[in-house]
């Protein structure tokens, strides 16, 4: 089933980008820190051991969070707490998950 998820990446990131370029649309890819494939393993290990290392991404203006990767609940909680405090976000809410 992973291949279907891969297809989304192919479709949206690879094929779509090609069509933009083929239609003379100037496309740029910026170099920003944050989780992505090329640094996936090292960043996940770093966040697992030292969750507040996420601070080094914050100064970049934006980041992509490895939400669906395996990070312990404890590390994840530390990261979320940091972000909740940073943006002054109320938490401990309960959600209605069924649409």
């Amino acid at each position: 089933m992973d291949k279907i998820g891969d297809l989304c990446c192919y479709f949206e990131q690879f094929l779509f980008t090609k069509y933009l370029k083929d239609n003379d649309i100037n496309v740029k890819i910026l170099q920003r820190e944050g989780y992505h494939n090329t640094n996936e393993n090292s960043d996940l290990m770093l966040l697992e051991k030292s969750p507040l290392e996420i601070k080094r991404w914050v100064d970049n203006g934006w980041f992509h969070f490895p939400l669906y990767k395996s990070i312990s609940e404890e590390s994840l909680h530390s990261i979320y707490t940091y972000l909740w405090e940073m943006f002054n976000i109320k938490h401990n809410r309960t959600y209605k998950k069924i649409i």
């Binding site: 291949k3 479709f11 494939n37 090329t38 943006f87 976000i89 209605k96």
Partner: protein, 210 residues
């Protein structure tokens, strides 16, 4: 100041990604964007109540019929709804996934279309084997199934592949034209993709049965 836009299409009744942590991240993403920009969600009619009930604090929510009309599926093409949303934009925009976080006001670029980061890049001094494998396993795997034609393969850029979690558009009208062409030309592909998904599911079923 540009708007930050988001997209959501509900494909199943109980999406597995809607965990407490997943929704917490949605809120962090939207609330951080709200600090600097106006935020708008484009969603299907079925998911509208989810965002209202859980008080995900968008400034504006737009229900797009075209998103509602995408068939529900247990094997969704998650990426297509974002492309649909892009078509409806009339001014410059920044599109973010719910697992992306904006930490400063976004400074705009002169380029027509900007991706915030790579998915993979071979444009480095040192290339990790995992990067090569990733490109092979995802992009070549599907390329050979979808586009193994006599087309000039040098037109296809495998060197720098963007991640679509963070996209900025400075030229919505030209991008809209490109998307309409994209949709026209991928019509046959979408049918093929649906067929391919069935094949992948069947393969997995037989592998599990052995």
């Amino acid at each position: 100041m540009i708007d930050v836009i988001y997209t959501y299409k509900q494909y199943t009744e109980s999406p597995i990604h809607l965990t407490d942590r997943g929704i917490d991240m949605m809120r962090i993403s939207v609330e951080s964007s709200n600090k600097f920009h106006r935020t708008t969600l484009h969603c299907c009619k079925d998911s509208y109540s989810f965002f209202k009930t859980n008080k995900i604090p968008f400034h504006n929510i737009i229900v797009l019929d075209e998103l509602s009309e995408i068939p529900k599926s247990k094997n969704p093409i998650w990426s297509y709804p974002k492309i649909v949303t892009m078509k409806y934009q009339t001014s410059r925009w920044l599109h973010m996934d719910f697992d992306c976080v904006l930490t400063k006001p976004f400074i705009e670029y002169e380029d027509d279309f900007v991706f915030g980061f790579h998915d993979s890049s071979l444009d480095n001094i040192h290339i990790h084997p995992a990067t090569v494998y990733h490109i092979w396993d995802i992009y070549f795997w599907w390329f050979f199934r979808l586009h193994n034609t006599d087309d000039n393969k040098f037109k296809w850029d495998f060197k720098n592949i963007p991640n679509a979690g963070f996209m900025y558009c400075n030229n919505p009208s030209e991008v809209k034209k490109a998307i309409k062409l994209f949709e026209k030309q991928i019509g046959y592909l979408m049918n093929w993709i649906r067929l391919e998904i069935c094949v992948v599911i069947l393969n997995n079923f037989f592998l599990l049965s052995i």
